[in-house]
């Protein structure tokens, strides 16, 4: 029978585990020995004790050893190494959890199983996980003036950050008391009018259900309006994301060199400006009566709100609307009644205004750090920032930001939002931050402003004397103190190279992209709102391959009129001039419902009534949009594109609608472009399979690779557990693309790709090789995409594509591309 040894730092623990394990052996004579603690009874692991236990429990059938922490394993290994060869061969160390593993091993040994089998039983022992303490779900209340509804989160971000702020803003408009509880995650109920309560307790992820309960005269209405807000997905639109790859954190290594994580690349040599935050003290001494203190506090908060709003306006004016958003959150917190009430009750218990407000905000900041989701954790620094602001206001001072002279590398432990916002970005050549976090404010701003920056450099950088020359190598994530002449020269050279490369990329981006053998690929941009139309040209877009029109439709309670839409499309046409603009008609469904279009709840919105299918149900929606596009067509080169086409019949139906629209416009005597091209999105496999017939009916195809992949592989790309499946480079998807291209080219029609894939370095060569004529991507990716196209050969890509189609997996395809194209 296999013997068992339990090694622990504690004698008591070892003995206790032995006792538990023995219970499982039913007197079968399994030898189980404990080796815990040191000779003198103190904690630790003892070589001799372990060796003795091994000798006692060892049998010819073998010996299994279970251990607790680190040194137990190492000491046991040493013991075994000291044993004769034949014994060693029959001893196994086991990775099982100590208690459960010992019990399972004892039972297995008692059954006379082999050593390997006993080990396996122990290591595979099921661990019974304790359910987290559950919170009572609040009863859906009944009665007059009470209302309650359950609703599911459909937007990607869930109920955090901006959606949470919107929710609180809307809830605050009602007189009723409104509570929210995440019933999927069984969180405690949160006050829907308190941004802080919502940030800590009220958060929910996409797919979770929340219960909204209201009590008061307008309860019914409050609940309905909030439900709609949630169901509308908070008007969130999907944006093409530009992924930033960050390296693992590291720390100080070479002398005078600090290592961290680069968040925006670049090379800078400049004097250090070490920013030290002025301590703001809570004055406890001069304290008035509770009434006086409360009044002081209210005034200070008032003043702080004013400051924050001024800052917000200033930032919006200076063209940083995203940074301005940070201060929206500040203003909401400062207006939070729950916060004021908590401070009030502390004041009533004898605290000064300053003590009370810092205590409340610190408490909330801590709660956010401990319980908040990753998204909300970062907000703790906002709360501390606010506490400082209010404290200063209590002393009658304004909070001023960081002021710097000359070009410097700013060094700080972290930048609080108000400090970050006050920075003059013209004087900051680089940013070096001691704390970690690529999602901190400092990192976010650095990326937004394009300042070379490194985070996570460790507290040592705060000791660098003011004005010391430093070199920041943000590409490599390091900060060099007092760089040598050589190092400076090297970095300056790298910076010049980077600038030249960027200039070249951008400069050349304006020219068309031809492969080395002269094959032209059209490179165009995806756009989701009017504001970013103009900048696509700067990045070298030859047109717009996908103009999403959802921005005109969401977040409002009535349909945009023909006139409103016409004005919007006209502006785009005018900005883009002769360049083609492909306008996709409204693409929404049950996951992103519109307040003014009745939609039934569907179990499966992605296979339900959405896009063209919704427009079939409500033809007015489509007609209004088509008329607006036809009219705007006279100002530029507009094309019409239908989303989510599944069969021929749908296309024929739209054509009759287009004809009707033209008739109606003609009848009214309104001017319009009569020759607008019409194309379809190919994103359902059936459309790819039928492309040879569809091509006869339309002028072009644009392949939406995200949805095509999702539908072809039957895999929700938001599902974390299916990340292994979702890859647009899957040969199955490539084959569908090939079919589509062949179908189109047979009838002389062109094919574009407007999914994320179109901007991906590894995908571009394959797409071109498959014969795709146009690539439509996030404008920022265009310069690099064009540069890539210019160094590859179409003839070779055709061969590459042929070979890729024969491969079995996405991974193999990617490897092939990397190898052939030298990426």
């Amino acid at each position: 029978m296999v013997g068992i040894v339990i090694v622990s730092h504690s004698e008591k623990l070892a003995e206790g585990v032995v006792e538990l394990a023995k219970q499982m052996t039913a007197g079968k004579g399994v030898v189980i020995r404990g080796a815990g603690g040191l000779e003198d009874g103190s904690l630790g692991t003892s070589f001799e004790k372990i060796l003795n236990a091994i000798n006692e429990a060892y049998s010819e059938d073998g010996l299994l050893i279970l251990m607790d922490l680190g040194s137990a394993i190492m000491t046991t290994q040493m013991c075994i190494e000291s044993l004769p060869e034949d014994m060693r061969a029959k001893i196994k160390l086991c990775n099982a959890p100590l208690v459960e593993g010992a019990v399972a091993a004892a039972a297995a040994a008692a059954q006379g199983l082999s050593l390997d089998e006993v080990k396996k039983q122990a290591e595979n022992v099921p661990l019974i996980k304790v359910q987290e303490e559950s919170v009572e779900v609040m009863e859906a209340p009944r009665g007059e003036n009470v209302a309650s509804v359950d609703v599911q989160l459909v937007n990607p971000t869930g109920l955090h950050a901006r959606p949470a702020s919107l929710f609180v803003q809307l809830a605050s408009k009602f007189k009723s008391k409104v509570m929210v509880q995440n019933i999927s995650a069984k969180k405690p109920p949160a006050d829907a009018k308190s941004i802080m309560d919502m940030a800590v307790n009220g958060t929910a992820e996409k797919g979770e259900w929340i219960r909204i309960t209201a009590e008061g005269e307008d309860a019914q209405e409050a609940v309905m309006v909030l439900k709609e807000l949630v169901e509308s997905g908070f008007g969130e639109l999907e944006e093409d994301e530009v992924k930033v790859v960050v390296k693992e954190e590291a720390a100080l290594s070479e002398k005078g060199v600090f290592r961290g994580t680069g968040v925006y690349p670049g090379y800078v040599v400049a004097p250090a400006f070490v920013y030290r935050r002025e301590e703001v003290k809570v004055s406890a001494s001069i304290k008035g009566t509770p009434e006086e203190e409360l009044k002081k506090l209210e005034e200070a908060i008032e003043a702080s709100i004013k400051e924050v709003e001024e800052l917000k306006d200033k930032l919006s004016r200076e063209g940083d609307p995203k940074v301005a958003l940070i201060f929206d959150f500040h203003a909401m917190v400062l207006k939070d009644e729950k916060m004021l009430n908590e401070a009030k009750s502390l004041i009533n218990r004898g605290l000064s205004a300053g003590e009370a407000i810092s205590k409340v905000l610190e408490e909330w900041a801590r709660k956010l750090e401990e319980q908040g989701t990753d998204l909300m954790k970062g907000r703790a620094s906002d709360l501390r920032d606010m506490a400082r602001r209010v404290l200063k206001a209590l002393e009658g001072r304004k909070t001023d930001g960081v002021s710097v002279e000359g070009k410097v590398v700013l060094i700080a432990d972290e930048l609080l939002p108000s400090e970050a916002a006050s920075l003059d970005r013209n004087t900051i050549a680089g940013i070096a931050v001691s704390r970690g976090g690529t999602t901190s404010h400092a990192a976010i701003l650095a990326r937004m402003w394009g300042i070379p920056s490194v985070v996570g450099l460790g507290p040592g950088i705060l000791d660098i004397p003011q004005g010391t020359l430093v070199a920041l190598d943000a590409a490599d994530g390091k900060l060099i103190v007092n760089p040598s002449a050589n190092e400076i020269e090297l970095l300056e050279r790298k910076q010049r190279e980077l600038e030249v490369a960027e200039e070249e990329l951008k400069g050349k981006a304006m020219e068309p992209a031809l492969t080395v053998d002269g094959h032209r690929v059209e490179v165009v941009a995806n756009v989701g709102n009017i504001d970013s139309v103009a900048e696509t040209i700067e990045y070298g877009a030859e047109g717009i391959g996908l103009l999403r029109t959802e921005f005109l439709f969401v977040d409002r309670d009535e349909m945009p009129s023909e006139e409103e839409q016409y004005q919007a499309y006209k502006r785009v046409a005018e900005i883009m001039g002769k360049r083609p603009v492909v306008i996709r008609t409204l693409d929404v469904g049950g996951d992103k419902p519109l307040a003014y279009v009745p939609m039934e709840r569907e179990d499966n919105p992605f296979l339900g009534v959405r896009a063209i299918r919704l427009q079939r149900l409500y033809p007015e929606l489509l007609k209004t949009q088509i008329k607006a596009i036809l009219r705007a067509g006279i100002y530029g080169n507009l094309k019409l594109m239908l989303p989510m086409v599944a069969n021929l019949e749908e296309v024929r139906w739209v054509k009759t609608i287009v004809d009707e629209c033209k008739e109606e416009l003609k009848a009214k005597g309104v001017e319009f472009a009569s020759n607008i091209e019409m194309g379809i999105m190919v994103e359902i496999p059936s459309a790819a399979l039928m492309s040879d017939l569809l091509a006869k009916e339309v002028d072009f195809f644009s392949i939406g690779t995200n949805d095509l992949t999702q539908y072809a592989l039957a895999c929700d790309r938001g599902n974390k557990n299916l990340a292994y499946l979702f890859d647009s480079m899957d040969p199955a998807v490539l084959r569908l693309i090939k079919l589509t291209v062949d179908g189109a080219h047979a009838h002389g029609k062109w094919v574009g790709v407007c999914g994320e894939m179109a901007g991906e370095k590894e995908a571009i060569p394959v797409l071109i090789g498959l014969g795709v004529d146009e690539l439509s991507m996030n404008a920022k990716l265009i310069p690099a995409a064009k540069a890539l196209i210019r160094r590859i050969s179409y003839e070779e890509l055709k061969l590459l594509a042929q070979d890729a189609l024969r491969l079995g997996t996405a991974k193999e395809v990617r490897e092939l591309v990397i190898k052939r194209c030298g990426l």
């Binding site: 001799e48 190492m74 100080l252």
Partner: protein, 213 residues
């Protein structure tokens, strides 16, 4: 200059002294990121070495170090036990049957000791362990050795490098040993094991300096 068996014994005595003097300091370092026993562990280990020296001090250097290894693993208790135990064991292998050794041989023994520590603990540099003191010390050792420096100069450089190595553990995040349970919170504290390794190098230097070069 050759290193004699007597020097090795003096080194062990000096190390025992230094570890006793720094017992509370090491324990205090371990209390920030561990279980507050490293000083106690090391002191107990070297006291045991002192007690076991009598029976082996007439044998060769390899045997003496082997006895030290046994004393350490059976008495230290914490991770430092098997780690330093393995280090002495590996060093003993290189110095088997030797009555006297050259600086070159000392270097080989120390390299082997570091290999032992890394084989046992699987730590590499940058993980906030004793390896972060020993590895740079050995690099300095090798550099001076090759430049033909005296043993004293060699050890001075090694001690200085070990000391810097110790300082460099402060901003590191522990990913090995008990301190790794603290994750990010291990940042900002000096590693106790690296500190005791530094003391061992210091003990070597003290013996050589006392001997007068």
């Amino acid at each position: 200059m050759a290193i004699t068996k007597a020097d090795v014994i003096k080194f062990l005595e000096r190390a025992a002294d230094l570890l006793r003097q720094n017992r509370d300091y090491l324990t205090q370092l371990d209390s920030a990121i561990g279980d507050a026993d490293h000083g106690i562990n090391m002191d107990r280990g070297f006291t045991k070495i002192m007690a076991s020296l009598d029976s082996v001090k007439d044998k060769d250097i390899g045997s003496i170090l082997k006895a030290c290894s046994m004393a350490l693993v059976s008495s230290v208790g914490g991770a430092a036990g098997p780690l330093y135990g393995t280090a002495f064991m590996y060093a003993a292998k290189v110095l088997d049957k030797k009555e006297e050794i050259t600086p070159e041989e000392l270097y080989q023994a120390l390299r082997s000791a570091l290999e032992g520590i890394q084989a046992r603990g699987k730590a590499v540099e940058g993980e906030k362990t004793m390896v972060d003191a020993i590895a740079p010390a050995l690099r300095a050792f090798e550099e001076k050795l090759q430049a033909g420096a005296s043993l004293k100069e060699i050890l001075q450089a090694a001690v200085q490098a070990a000391e810097e190595g110790v300082k460099n553990t402060i901003p590191m995040k522990a990913t090995k040993g008990r301190a790794s349970y603290l994750g990010e919170r291990s940042i900002g504290h000096q590693d106790p094991g690296a500190t005791s390794s530094y003391l061992l190098f210091k003990a070597m230097l003290d013996v050589v300096e006392e001997k007068g070069g």
